[in-house]
């Protein structure tokens, strides 16, 4: 018997990153702006996406990838809005990965799409390490998760490009200070835009929707230049 040391240097996450880069190239080639909406279970991701789709679909050709342990439930909500929707069942997995998104992209007519919203699995931990190829990484939490939720899940807020604190209209009822949550996010990531939303407050939803639209317009301008 002989012992050997075999050097490998194989980065498990890099394998995912490579597919994510491929996804990004495919999206860029067709001028599609994509948003990865991550967030806690029950934080209101689906509702916020529905609102965005409802108000952007007339101006921009919009498609949705609905990722979930059982994705059909959310997918049927998006289909009701009349936009192409691809459900991605992750089965037992707690996050979407680039490979799953790559497969879903095959089913989307990218040539005729301007905006792609990807709803990730409700989870504040696992999606962090898996890039999908998205242009904007958004994270949604709601006040009902408690105001210590941010510091318990620092990496997702540290790496987010947009943070949304949802259901602020019931903050008082659940004894949570939404401003503390905002401060915690900014302490981890001082440059990230933080939006406070409630589905009953149109102005707040408009801010969320405008942010997506702003990114989309910037991407379209960059594409033209």
């Amino acid at each position: 018997m002989l012992m050997h040391v075999i050097h490998m240097g194989h980065d498990v996450f890099k394998a995912n990153d490579k597919i994510a880069e491929k996804n990004r190239k495919a999206l860029d080639k067709h001028g599609v702006f994509s948003v990865n909406v991550m967030g806690a279970i029950g934080s209101g991701k689906t509702t916020l996406i529905e609102e965005a789709v409802r108000h952007l679909k007339e101006k921009y050709r919009t498609a949705v990838i609905a990722g979930d342990v059982i994705a059909e439930m959310d997918a049927s909500r998006f289909r009701k809005l009349g936009v192409p929707t691809i459900p991605v069942n992750t089965g037992k997995e707690c996050h979407l990965d680039a490979k799953l998104v790559e497969k879903a992209l095959d089913e989307i007519d990218l040539e005729n799409t301007d905006l792609l919203i990807i709803e990730n699995v409700g989870n504040l931990i696992c999606p962090v390490d898996f890039k999908l190829g998205e242009h904007l990484r958004a994270v949604v939490v709601s006040v009902t998760e408690g105001d210590d939720i941010i510091l318990k899940h620092p990496m997702i807020f540290k790496t987010a490009e947009l943070a949304v604190i949802n259901k602020v209209d019931i903050a008082h009822a659940v004894d949570v200070d939404a401003e503390k949550m905002r401060d915690d996010i900014l302490s981890l990531n001082p440059d990230v835009p933080v939006i406070l939303t409630s589905k009953h407050d149109w102005d707040s939803l408009e801010t969320w929707i405008s942010f997506i639209e702003l990114g989309l317009r910037r991407a379209q301008e960059a594409q033209r230049n």
Partner: protein, 133 residues
């Protein structure tokens, strides 16, 4: 909890490499794990053992080397987080939070860019082969 699928990926890579080198047995798997990655070394090893049962890697031992986060700042500073400072402030905080709090540039105090510490690398494997190959 996504250790199972990561363990599957590690198993596939390790077996492919071991077989390419005509291994009879995989003795050690040396991993480099970033402090900022959301992976639990014990769970990973547990999942791997379940997957590797009956294979040439079934008795392989996991050796996990933790990698401190490294950063790069606009001011030109590059370096790794000073791990001797982690866990020193006495507050009840998570280790991950401590590391993230330490990601400020030690020179100018700005929020620095993370350049390392999120990886999970199969660095090497120790295998046994026949004397004559």
């Amino acid at each position: 909890m996504h250790e199972y699928s990561i363990a599957c990926e590690i198993f596939e890579q390790v077996i492919a490499t071991a077989e390419a080198h005509e291994a009879l047995e995989v003795r050690h798997i040396i991993l480099e794990m970033g402090r900022l990655a959301h992976t639990n070394p014990d769970q990973l090893s547990f999942c791997f053992k379940a997957i590797a049962e009956g294979s040439i890697a079934e008795n392989a031992e996991f050796v996990v080397e933790m990698i401190p986060p490294s950063l790069e700042c606009e001011c030109g500073y590059t370096g790794t987080v000073d791990e001797t400072q982690i866990g020193k402030d006495g507050e009840l905080r998570s280790e991950l939070l401590e590391y993230i709090a330490a990601l400020e540039c030690p020179v100018c105090g700005r929020n620095a860019r993370i350049t390392g510490g999120r990886e999970l690398i199969i660095k090497s494997i120790d295998i046994e082969t026949e004397v004559e190959k």
